[in-house]
Symmetry: C2
Subunit: 423 residues, 2 copies
């Protein structure tokens, strides 16, 4: 492995250059060729499970030296069943429609020029992640399916597992005659390597970080190429004066409790003051029964005895656990102002029976997904029918919300003429 | 005007904050309100032409101190006719379909959730340009029509004219009840102001530079928000072995000579060696008659006596004048390799009668527009039927090729349910 800075430079540069070369070949291959490689990879994940688990064992043994908690160690562990699920996920991606070469718009111009807007891969993706080894398979499959070359840089805690999984992809690519630099795993864990890749905008078209806020901030700051960011989700449920009580209770409970550790879980509840007296005690009762800690404004604390006073900081916090901040607001405008000030543009929900309120909220609230009478938990590629996602973008540029295959593409104009010139 | 660095900071910050506020209001107004303001602006451009021309006179008088050439001074000059054309361009933008709120995709999920993908404005655009005052009107109209707030920063040579035009927009916004910070002109010409705006990514969603390579590079380097770049166009015409001779001559002439100073003009001609003997003399004759200087490879110089030897640097140069570099290549793959190495991803054309060659070229060449048997000059928003454009993006991220109203938008997901929760 590289040990001097010079060697890291060279290592990254060669990898990026090879990825760029592969990215020129991939869009010229039929989608069937990319699918065959993915299919082969999926088969290897099942057939060669023992070798991956052997590598995984090394990561599990090293886990205490990284200070991983018991829950984190459990998430790191690979079993034949988990490898089977990884293979299933790859199989699902194979079944998705091929985005490459799809004509997404077209027109015949008055001069007879036939103009088509055609989907093309972005080129080379640099994917940096901290999560479990299954992300390696997902990300590689999504990038390859969409015709992109990808450089994967996983967390050091899963290094051996990731290298083993990437080895299977390499084997599949070679067996099916695809360029083996279409999917590459960064083998060194030096932190400088990330910085080096982020400088190589001649070769890398987009950087996608997935992990904690510090990682995303670092990538956003250092990257010289575009970044698809998956920042925090400070998601709100606003219960309007006109809300149906049962729907409100169910939606608030589901948004907070269904999976509190994920980005589309609700962190703040806003309640119209006309609904508060009737609704907040019922919501409080349901949430307290689920073990949720409530931090509320003064009016909330009057209505729910178990609530403790919220600070301003609470309303800017992505808890990612069973804590909910609660504020009673005078009207829908105050709710939207609160969201504009404290929200992260991820996901918001209004619970209302009034059409005008639903229209006002969905028009004015500027978040990647805005729901009416549904849980915040639906902001998800699978739930929207987009297939697997590589992340949920909190940017407004290029891709917003769940990023699946289409969001890993760009387009070009292709126009067929028969000798047209401009006069 | 601001004179200390502190004052510039404050000036830019207040402007950007006001733009952000306006950007929250604009998407909630009906498109008719934005059109009314644009209509009012267009009327003022005609009615108040004398006041704009008075301001323009100051720029014309200062022009020698900026070292402008005669041609540049002429381009800077505003006349009632030119102001009428500016107003016409605004009228055309009014007539374009409103992108804001348009549902661009939708599905009803198995659980009944009705998911829509809805176009929304990007937010706040920072537009930096060096060109003539008509760009002020165009850019303001495109941004406002697409529901974005915009901060305009024009060249110092046109400062008085730009401020006068922006004054008319302000007047129109006020008269029609729109936030007057929806369109703002940077009144100070301090170079630091640009750097300051490029730091304000809390308020500005995208920076769009239009001008020389140095400006674009500076903005790309300094910007902390996404940038839509309009880099150079090193555009190629490749004449295949199977090309029709007449089409080839016409297309090469038009691509080079129709308007040599623009980005979609051809800079390099590549000719298949089997076609060279028959075609190059005819092409050379036509181009030499149009005053084009030819810089060719050895084979080109054999076939066209007037051609001078090209250097490798020639093939990396955007001439923007009546010069064409010419290379004879052994096959289509060599042509595509040359384009991948020397091109800027802007516009390429193949002249061919063979379907397989057309398919190979359009699939493998990675440029914003790839033409078959048509002039490179067609890579243009108007020619593609997209309406007026704010630039031609040479990026692959977010927007590629001509950037019109749609490219100034993002999207969000809006989903209507009736109490759906995830289980």
């Amino acid at each position: 492995m590289a040990t001097t800075e010079m060697a890291i430079d060279t290592y990254c540069h060669e990898m990026a250059e090879a990825a760029k070369e592969a990215s020129r070949v991939l869009p010229t291959l039929p989608g069937e060729a990319r699918n065959r490689a993915l299919s082969h990879f999926s088969r290897l994940l099942r057939e060669e499970a023992p070798s991956v688990m052997e590598a995984n064992q090394k990561d599990l043994e090293a886990a205490p030296s990284f200070g991983l908690t018991g829950a984190q160690v459990d998430r790191l562990r690979l079993t034949p069943q988990r490898l089977g699920s990884m293979a299933d996920a790859v199989d699902e991606i194979i079944m998705l429609a091929d985005p490459v070469g799809r004509v997404i718009d077209s027109s015949v111009r008055p001069n007879g020029l036939n103009v088509m807007k055609v989907r093309v891969p972005l080129g080379v993706v640099f994917f940096i992640y901290e999560s479990r080894p299954n992300v390696t398979a997902d990300a590689a499959a999504l990038c390859l399916k969409s015709g992109n070359a990808v450089i994967l840089r996983g967390g050091k805690e899963a290094r051996h597992s990731n290298i083993a999984v990437a080895g299977l992809i390499q084997k599949a690519l070679a067996a099916e005659g695809l360029p083996n630099s279409a999917v590459q795993m960064v083998g060194i864990t030096d932190r400088e390597a990330v910085g080096e890749f982020l400088r190589l905008n001649d070769f890398i078209d987009v950087a996608i970080p997935r992990g904690g806020a510090a990682l995303i901030r670092r990538v956003a700051d250092e990257a010289t190429m575009p970044v698809i960011k998956h920042f925090q989700g400070i998601c709100h449920v606003y219960v309007d004066a006109s809300a149906d009580k049962d729907k409100a209770v169910e939606i608030v409970e589901n948004s907070k409790c269904h999976r509190p550790g994920v980005c589309n879980a609700a962190e703040t509840l806003l309640v119209h003051e006309h609904a508060a007296g009737n609704l907040l005690p019922a919501i409080g009762e349901r949430l307290l029964a689920r073990g949720v800690e409530l931090r509320g404004c003064p009016r909330t604390c009057e209505l729910i005895a178990a609530a403790t006073p919220a600070t301003e900081e609470d309303f800017d916090t992505e808890y990612l656990e069973l804590i909910l901040s609660v504020r009673v607001v005078p009207d829908i405008q105050a709710a939207m102002d609160h969201i504009a000030k404290h929200g992260s543009g991820h996901t918001e929900t209004i619970v209302t029976e009034k059409l005008a309120a639903a229209q006002q909220f969905t028009t004015a609230v500027d978040s990647s997904a805005v729901f009416v009478n549904a849980s915040t938990r639906f902001n998800d590629g699978g739930q929207f029918g987009l297939g697997a996602e590589i992340g949920i973008s909190t940017d407004k540029f290029h891709a917003r919300g769940p990023c699946g295959l289409n969001e890993l593409t760009s387009y070009k104009y292709v126009a067929f003429g028969n000798g047209q010139i401009r006069t």
